[in-house]
Structures are given as C-alpha cells and as structure tokens.
C-alpha cells in the first residue's frame, strides 16, 4: 500500500474535484507557475515594483482562501480546536497568499499595468544588461 500512497492521493483528489476539474486545476497551477518562471527568466530580475502589488494582494488571497474553505466545509473560525488545526488554517492562508502573489506578479508582467509599462520604457538599463551580460557583472 505504501508505495501507492501518491497514487491513492491523486485518486482522492480526482474524486474531490472530479477527474476533469482536478487535472484542469493542476494544469492551470502548472501553467501559472511556468509562466511565472518564464517572466522571471525573460526579465532576468525580480521587479520590486511588480512584487509590491503582488505583496499587497497577498492578504486578500489569504482571506479569500480561508473564507472559501470555511464556507465549503460548513465550518467557523471557532472550530479550530488544536495545534494541527491552526497549522491547517495557516497553511490554507499561506497557500492562498502565495498563489495570489504569483498570479498577480505573473499577470502584471504579462499584461502590464500603468506602472509596469512605465517601468519597461525606463528599463533600458535592464535591456542593456541583457545584451551584455558579462559586462553587467
């Protein structure tokens, strides 16, 4: 049984969401993550301006994911009854926060906001560095 643990876990997730939705969600998560890596590699640096908005969105992501879990499971905050519950609660919040941050950062890098476009037009130094990677070091 033990060596099949991961397979069992996948089977359980497929049952929770339905096979189609589960793999769609996995594909979406993978797509966002890959796109995120793509923009990081493309830009060759973390844009702290973009990251600021991503950071600001984190609390909303955290609250939204906690709200979602509580609503879907007929639960209330007062149901938290032990250390492991607190860990699960924080885990849900952190996943929501990090997921939202990655999503916002990626969207901003792809589509661009007013600030991002401004950054790009000013970003000649980054482009120069891109053309002459050795000299920039």
């Amino acid at each position: 049984m033990k060596e099949l643990a991961l397979q069992s876990l996948i089977a359980v997730f497929e049952e929770i969401f339905g096979r189609g939705l589960f793999w769609t969600l996995v594909a979406l998560a993978a797509a966002v993550t890959l796109t995120y890596f793509y923009v990081l590699i493309r830009d060759r640096s973390v844009s702290w301006k973009k990251f600021l908005l991503a950071q600001l969105s984190m609390p909303f992501g955290a609250v939204a994911s906690v709200w979602f879990v509580l609503t879907m499971t007929h639960s209330r905050l007062s149901d938290i009854g032990g250390p492991v519950d607190l860990i699960v609660f924080l885990f849900v919040a952190v996943i929501g926060a990090v997921g939202t941050a990655i999503l916002v950062y990626t969207l901003e890098a792809l589509i661009g906001t007013e600030r991002t476009r401004q950054r790009r037009s000013q970003g000649t130094r980054a482009e120069t560095r891109h053309r002459h990677p050795v000299s920039s070091n």
């Binding site: 049984m1 060596e3 099949l4 991961l6 397979q7 069992s8 876990l9 996948i10 089977a11 359980v12 997730f13 497929e14 049952e15 929770i16 996995v26 998560a29 993978a30 966002v32 993550t33 890959l34 995120y36 890596f37 990081l40 640096s45 973390v46 990251f51 879907m72 499971t73 007929h74 639960s75 209330r76 007062s78 149901d79 938290i80 009854g81 032990g82 492991v84 519950d85 699960v88 609660f89 990090v98 997921g99 990655i102």
Partner: protein
Amino acid sequence: MNRRDFLSLAAISGGLAVAPLAGSGAAAKPIATKARIVIVGAGAAGTALANRLVRRLDGASITIIDPRTTHLYQPGLSLVATGLKPADYVTSDVAHWLPANIVWMGERVAAVDGEAKTVSTENGTVIDYDWLILAPGLVLDYGAIEGFSADLVGENGIGALYGGPVEAERTWKAAQRFTEAGGTGIFTRPATEMKCAGAPLKHTFLIDDLARRAGNAGKMNMIYAAPQSSLFGVPIVAEKVRMLFEDRGVDTLLTSTLTAIDPGARRAVFATENGQQEIDYDYIHVIPPQRAPDFIRNSGLSWADRWTDQGWVEVDQATLRHLRYPEIFALGDVAGVPKGKTAASVKWQVPVVEDHLIAAIEGREGTETYNGYTSCPLITRIGRAMLVEFDYRDNLVPSFPGIIAPLEELWISWLMKEVALKATYNAMLRGQA
C-alpha cells in the same frame, strides 16, 4: 529577501503545484487463471474487491450477485439526517462502479452450499464457484421493535437514519422540528452488533449542536439510551464520550434496550435490568437490531456459538476466511468478527482477502492480516470531530500519531469527514485506495 531567496520560494511553491503530476506505481503482472469467483453483494466491499481482482487476475470468471441498482454511501447518512447534505449525496449507480469485464447478476441469493460449492438465487439460478466472497451487508430488523415500521420515519418525532437516503432525509424532517420546538429527545442503539457504533453518538451531538445554534439549548432534554453498560465499545473512547456528554448536558440511560414505541402517544418502552421503563419523547432516533441476511444463517455459514441471534459468518479474525469452508471469505458487515462494521474497516479488509484469495489461486499461503482496524470520525458538533481509530484489542491506532490526536475535538478531523472521506471511499470502490 534577495533574488535567490525569492527564486527558492518560487521553486518550492512551483514544485508543490506540479508535484501531483508525478504518478507512480508499476502494476504487478496479472496472474493467469480460470478460477470461478463469485462475490455476493455489490456494496462497498464487493465492489472494491471486484475492481482489485480484475487487475490482479487474467482469465478469471468473476460474477457479482446483487439485486440493488443503487449504491449507497452509508457514511454520508448522518450528514443527510442533519440537513447538512441532500439525500442524493449518498446515492449513485451500482453499474457506475463495477468493472466492465465481470458478470453482474441482479438477483437475490437464496442459499449457499459450501459442500457442493454452489450459490442459488431466488429465481432458481445455480452458480458454481471455486471461490466465494460473502459481502451482502446486513439486515435492519425493524420488526424487533414493537410498534415501529420504516414508514413511520419522519412523522410523530421519529427518526431512523440507517434505513437509507429517504429515511435519513425524513429523519431530518422530524429532528429539525425537535431542534426548533425543544422537548425530550431519545437517541437509541441496539443490543446487537451494529454498523458504525459512532453513528448514534454523532446524531446525538449534531442534533444538540443544531438546537444550540437555533438558540434552543435551554429547551432540550437529551437522553442517550443504550443496552450496553458503556457509551462505546472501546473503554478510552467511552470515557471521553462520557465527559463530552456531561459537558453538553446529555443524560445517559445505560443497560436499557428499546423494545417498543407508541408513535401516537410518543412513548418509548425500554427493557431495563429491573424490568421495564416508559419514557415520553418529542423526538426519538431508532437504530434497530442488526443481523446477517437469512440465507447466511439458513446455509449453515454462521457461528454456532457466538452471536447466535445475529448469524454473522464464521471466519478467522485475521484472514476473514471461513473456518469450515476454506473457499469462502466474508467481508464487511456480515463478517463474524468483533469489530469492523464500517467502510474504513472494509478498506483494510479488502486487501487482506485479495491477498489470501490470490495466494490460494497460486497454491501458496497469503500473508496479509486484518487487525480489526475500525475508524470513526466521531462528529461532536458541526465543524469538529474526533478521528477515533481502534483495533480488536481496543487499542487506539491513530493514522497520524502526534499530529491528529484521536481524542481531541478537531477541525481537521471534521474536514476529513466533510471533504476527504467520500473521495477516499470512492477511490476505494475503484480499488485505488
């Protein structure tokens, strides 16, 4: 956070997102055999075993016999009976779960001949078998309670959630009125072995919680009545339940067996150590005595000296193999073992029978054993449960020792019941968990 840290964080989160893609598990090569395997019952145990056997065996003739066309997810009945889930949450098509390359006979079994190795149905069909797995479930003996019948459920303050989706939904109708109007509520359990001994406790806790949420805690007089001398078969759990009942103000009436009800007068009659006791109720939850189907008892497959009024199949506790007919195994509710009448037990029993059956087909001895594992996410209120797991010896056998405490009321245990349990159950039906 510098760039490297940020990338590490990204890598970790990215890794988490992609991890489930990496599947594993090379299946063992199927064993060629012409064995004729008959499974009686397409419930949780029969279906799970059938799905596992078709993957392990090549060329076997597998027949499953069950007249029912609707599969029942019984662990969900307590949620239906408290209005937390709709009735269709627990139903699905039997055909949806059965593997394609087996024979499904929609007939009712009338008898088993262990000497001639045949199963005969009520329609007169006779099926020869090399190996027989008995998983027909059990029978609710409503007739044992005078004045009670299934059609009374939902009216006159009567609930009985074990009956099925319709009864569970009607139970909520009666229970909801009780949580709004208040009064005396009696929650019973039978003197026989029963499916999930936690269910009557869950129902008590949930109705109490729903009444509290409705602001009617002061109007409730809750009584838990049981023929046994303790609140749960496992002493350490019984003691915890005693404390919780004290905390919630639930009174207990032990060594008292429900023998009759008068629905019109809303009066219940209990046989006690000192004779008889009558209690008037506003709501009563009835769990009738439970027994093996007649064909098990009439075919001489039951224990002769244990559970003589119930007729469970005489099997070895560890291998679930019949003690007199080695070609016969029993799974689930019908197995004559001290514990194990839950879906979680079935999950542990099925691989054991699979192992011994396949070993026997190959002419060797199986090695897997069943230790009596039984699990019960014992709901103590909406949003909290205790994940109680135990074995034959009344030991607690927590699946997550040090992480999920078995005797604590936890949100995570509720989440498991609410979110993961049905999914795990369905995966088990498919033979995948």
